[in-house]
């Protein structure tokens, strides 16, 4: 059950128009090798779901700058002025979602839930067109699950079966997007043999992972 593939093979799986979840938070813990790899292909019209769009020269931001993305679903785009510019010029569609709602919608998809009630966004433009509910005297919005065709995950030590650990603040969105996409590719800082990771320390069990690519290719 060796899931390790080459960068080339991984990139061949990414197609025009796909919805991609990409890990990372302000480019910290993003799968940079895969992102750079996409830039070497012709892939375009991507829909990207991520916390933010990084910086123009770092992380997901590079995909924006190079016009590979037609729509972004994120909580924050302020650190990448190019995203704002493309949005204002109508070159890219941007959907902004509160960070806690965004990650919980992704989790809901992974967990087979039909949605959840959150107090976040009540009384703001976030509530537009959403159903509202009272529970124990508090008002909540119904938020729906959010999935993707593919998740690009940045892992730290990853075994050949896909069992994944994370390093420091690089964890962020990565373990959650790994549960919510039809195909999951983990970019590993280090590939280790099966059995080298203590089962108590595995964060993303390998059953969620389709492919592993090692960094430094």
């Amino acid at each position: 059950m060796d899931k390790v593939i080459s960068l080339e093979k991984a990139l061949s799986l990414i197609k025009d128009g796909m919805t991609l979840m990409i890990g990372g938070f302000l480019a910290n813990g993003s799968p940079d090798m895969l992102i750079d790899g996409i830039l070497d292909t012709e892939v375009k019209d991507l829909i990207v779901i991520a916390n933010d769009t990084g910086f123009p020269d770092k992380g997901i931001g590079k995909l924006i700058v190079n016009h590979r993305v037609k729509k972004v679903i994120a909580s924050h785009i302020g650190t990448n002025p190019e995203t704002g510019r493309q949005m204002n010029e109508g070159e890219i569609e941007v959907e902004l979602i509160p960070q806690g709602t965004l990650i919980e919608r992704i989790r809901a998809k992974g967990a087979g839930l039909g949605g959840f009630l959150t107090p976040t966004g009540v009384g703001t433009i976030v509530e537009d067109e959403k159903e509202m509910f009272e529970v124990n005297g508090r008002t909540y919005l119904l938020e729906k699950p959010l999935g993707a065709d593919m998740a690009l995950v940045r892992g730290y030590k990853v075994d050949r079966m896909g069992n994944t650990t994370y390093y420091k603040s690089m964890r962020n969105f990565n373990p959650i997007i790994a549960t919510a996409a039809d195909m999951v590719i983990v970019e590993a800082d280090e590939i280790v043999e099966v059995g080298e990771i203590d089962p108590d320390h595995v964060v993303t069990p390998g059953i969620f992972v389709n492919y592993v690519v090692g960094r430094g290719q």
Binding site: L26, Q99, P119, V126
Partner: protein, 223 residues
């Protein structure tokens, strides 16, 4: 002499109590960490999945794989923990943060907050702010009293809201307001600032607390 921002950050730090879980917004609020009083131990949380942040890294201590929610490199103290974003917002939205200190574009006398968008001008996104102000037990807005001479403390916010009725306290370089169900109460003025100064810089209605105090910026004494 402290700058206005330093006055605000230092005063805001005095709201922190021992053992508090604290989330600091980007910019001025991040400076609060520099003024935490002696003997007060707090747990600094960051949306991207950290509890237990320490001071900024010294030379050679930087780890590009350890940043806060503003993207700045940080350190962690012994007893820190890393987790994913779903857990981070379990902490935030679930009421496990004692206080969040964050900036504002506008705040009003009903405790409404606007700090994430200026339509068709600046659309950074709300990030974690909407969750933070809904979830934290106490919400402190720490900001300069005016922007380009125009009041930021309003009768009614004009910008799209971050949340409704969530602000508990407003700390500026001029004074400290508490938000009550009856409106704003001015609790403190900064030394050298008159109530008229504050009236002139504030659009919102407010009442003056009976035991109005004066905040001495250098000594940190409130009397």
């Amino acid at each position: 002499m402290l700058s206005p921002k330093e006055i605000i950050a230092k005063r805001a730090a005095m709201e922190l109590k021992n053992g508090y879980v604290v989330n600091l917004g980007i910019g001025l609020p991040t400076m609060v960490a520099n003024y935490i009083p002696e003997g007060i131990e707090v747990f600094l949380q960051s949306e991207n999945g950290i509890i237990g942040m320490g001071p900024a890294p010294g030379p050679g201590q930087e780890d590009p794989n350890l940043v806060n929610a503003g993207g700045q490199m940080v350190t962690v103290k012994p007893g820190a923990a890393f987790f994913d974003s779903a857990m981070s917002f379990t902490i935030i939205r679930g009421g496990h943060v004692d206080v969040t200190i964050l900036g504002a574009l506008e705040v009003d006398q009903e405790g409404n907050l606007a700090n994430w968008i200026i339509p068709s001008k600046m659309v950074p996104g709300m990030g974690g702010a909407m969750d933070l102000v809904i979830g934290a037990k106490k919400v402190i807005v720490a900001m300069e009293h005016t922007a380009k001479g125009k009041p930021k403390i309003l009768k009614k916010c004009t910008l799209p809201l971050t949340a409704v009725g969530v602000v508990d306290m407003i700390i500026t370089e001029m004074g400290v307001f508490e938000v009550t169900k009856d409106g704003l109460v001015l609790k403190e003025v900064t030394e050298g600032i008159s109530i008229d100064d504050i009236r002139n810089a504030t659009e919102a209605d407010f009442v003056i607390n009976k035991g109005l105090k004066i905040y001495h910026t250098e000594s940190g004494v409130i009397d």
